[in-house]
């Protein structure tokens, strides 16, 4: 890479970019694959949480939002009068229960109710889809900030791999329509190109906006210079994320405004179901404040709009002005990343492109090894790269399927149940690493892919045996959310099986064939 005085235009530049692409790709790819796969699943995190809590009611005819909020206020005034703030989530298609959060004496407390009659809902302890969501930016078992830095470094390398990959390609469009099957590295290269070009704008967008979601961590220096005081800086960060901080109580009693009326007003402007969340701060205090957040439906900007009211007089406190260009850009970037605005069809497009990203990374990693395997003297660590490829690319789907199994098989009353579901993921993943280190590589690939396919294919029957929400019951019940998870398991099982079937029985067979062809031509 460091050859001197070599003209970098034309082939020289492409060679340099080839080095950058191969190495930044290799270093980041395993972690980025895990981030992409768990991140893709996170587009459905609420739906997955619903599936993982079969006890939750479907609440097809919830109370009207103002009525529901009025009942919440009565309940919380009795239950948590001292809490600095209550945050009430109103039900939606994807989250059919209504929940409230507040900080109690023992940390954050949470209460979920059936929005049809306010009866409390209890469900098995699980992290649900939230586990995948959190993993995709802060991993697990690691200090949160350190893990976020790791994820950020991987994302930055991914961004560089994407840009250098584009420069590397002279004829990016022609490559997209080329597929040469059954030819060792050539075929992997064609597959890699197809996945990459297909989703290139998405891959660039999702990687860059991912960095943006944590930019105050990765690039804090401008904020530190502009707001040297910690207190004003905290205020700036809260404004930056458009997340108002809870203020101080005045210590003077004053009755809380009728929040239901504010919700009803907002619903008149935003439509029925337009209010997603209500935060009530210092209820019963003169400094009370009420904030209503609008549901994201169909709007790209993930930040705002919201309404802020004086919690005693009900007077509007925010100006209701449109955000500035900078805030709008930021909000749209975050919105594009999270995809909360997306309706079902767009959400599936996101999922498809996310999977294409996984395919791009996986084929890139396999290509990296296939190319080097062809050399007369393959480099020393190559065998370990190949084994890690198996353990991560095929092993992670197995471990993720094990999460759903653990959810259905662990006893509901098990202490630390939610944690054990997560431990199951990593124990199975570790087992896949051990398996990949012991078995011949080509067999390890097929065995793990088939295992993943089998585990996923059996999730719906397991679901039917252990709950009342099997796929047939969900179909008859019109429960598209839970049915969707079962059907997706089958679709992914078919995908893994299709990949397993296409892999050669042994590595030597293809490489011998490919080498013979290389020599012949």
């Amino acid at each position: 890479m460091a050859r001197t005085a070599e003209p970098r235009r034309g082939p020289g530049l492409r060679r340099a970019m080839g080095g950058v692409h191969a190495w930044s790709g290799l270093i980041a790819a395993w972690l980025v694959f895990a981030i992409f796969l768990t991140g893709t699943v996170s587009f459905f995190k609420d739906t997955l949480s619903l599936w993982m809590q079969p006890e939750l009611p479907r609440a097809t005819s919830p109370l009207e939002a103002p009525e529901l909020v009025a009942r919440w206020v009565a309940l919380l005034e009795a239950r948590a009068p001292e809490a600095a703030s209550w945050t009430i989530s109103l039900p939606s298609e994807r989250e059919p229960v209504s929940t409230a959060l507040w900080r109690g004496a023992e940390g954050i407390e949470r209460l979920a109710v059936d929005p049809e009659d306010m009866s409390p809902v209890t469900a098995r302890a699980t992290r649900g889809g939230d586990f995948f969501y959190r993993f995709h930016f802060q991993l697990h078992y690691l200090p949160v900030i350190a893990a976020r830095w790791l994820v950020g470094a991987a994302a930055m390398l991914m961004l560089i791999a994407l840009i250098s990959g584009v420069i590397l390609h002279k004829k990016i469009l022609r490559d997209f329509f080329t597929f040469r099957g059954g030819k060792g590295p050539r075929s992997w290269l064609d597959a890699h190109n197809a996945f990459s070009v297909l989703g290139l704008p998405f891959h660039l967008m999702i990687t860059y906006t991912g960095l943006v979601t944590l930019m105050t961590l990765y690039m804090p220096w401008g904020l530190e210079a502009a707001f040297p005081e910690p207190e004003t800086r905290r205020q700036a960060v809260s404004e930056l994320h458009d997340f108002p901080r809870v203020g101080r109580a005045a210590g003077v009693a004053a009755p809380l405004v009728e929040v239901a009326g504010l919700v009803a007003d907002a619903e008149r402007d935003w439509g029925r179901g337009g209010v997603a969340r209500v935060r009530i701060e210092h209820a019963g205090d003169a400094a009370a404040r009420v904030i209503l957040w609008r549901a994201p439906g169909g709007r790209l900007n993930d930040q705002g709009p919201r309404r802020v009211f004086d919690g005693v007089t009900g007077r509007r406190q925010d100006t209701g002005e449109a955000p500035g260009a900078d805030a709008l850009t930021h909000g749209v970037m975050v919105g594009l990343h999270a995809g909360r605005f997306a309706d079902w069809s767009l959400r599936w497009l996101y999922a498809g492109l996310g999977l294409a990203g996984c395919g791009m990374i996986a084929t890139g990693l396999v290509l990296w090894t296939a190319k080097r395997r062809l050399k007369p003297r393959p480099p020393g660590g190559l065998a370990w790269v190949e084994r890690l490829n198996v353990a991560i690319l095929a092993g992670l789907p197995v471990a993720m399927a094990a999460y759903l199994w653990a959810n259905r098989l662990l006893p509901v009353g098990l202490p630390g149940r939610a944690d054990w579901e997560v431990h199951a993921v990593f124990l199975v993943w570790l087992a896949m690493l051990v398996h990949a280190s012991l078995r011949p590589v080509a067999r390890a690939w097929r065995e793990q892919l088939w295992l993943g396919s089998l585990l996923l294919a059996l999730v719906p029957p397991l679901n039917a045996l252990t709950t009342e929400h099997g796929p047939l019951a969900s179909l008859l019940d019109g429960d598209g959310q839970r049915l969707g998870v079962d059907l997706s398991c089958w679709a992914l099982a078919a995908l893994l099986a299709a990949i397993a079937r296409r892999l050669p029985a042994s590595r030597l067979a293809t490489h011998r064939r490919a080498r013979k062809k290389a020599i012949a031509s």
């Binding site: 460091a2 005085a5 950058v20 930019m215 401008g222 210079a225 502009a226 700036a236």
Partner: protein
């Protein structure tokens, strides 16, 4: 025993330092220079942060696209100069 790494390894090391710490440094300068924009402070800081990753990525690509390691560092310094001026204005202005 050779105490210094070979020439090509040293050149690669210098390029990696230019790309990693050098690129991050350039991105930091950009985020500080943005404070000099005639905008409310928070908006300027936000623009600096939003754009910094693009600057970082461009710096890395530029460092490896350069014909030799000397040019890579020279290019980095050339880009840093106006940004450093802007950063000085942004933080002292």
């Amino acid at each position: 025993m050779r105490l210094l790494p070979s020439t090509s390894a040293r050149r690669l090391g210098l390029r990696l330092i230019a790309a990693g710490p050098g690129g991050y440094g350039l991105a930091t300068l950009f985020s500080l220079a943005a404070l000099a924009l005639p905008l409310p402070t928070l908006a300027a800081a936000r623009i600096g942060m939003l754009g910094s990753f693009a600057v970082f990525a461009a710096a890395v690509i530029g460092v490896f696209a350069a014909r030799d390691v000397g040019r890579a560092w020279a290019g980095l310094a050339l880009a840093a100069l106006p940004l450093a001026l802007g950063a000085w204005h942004g933080t002292h202005g």
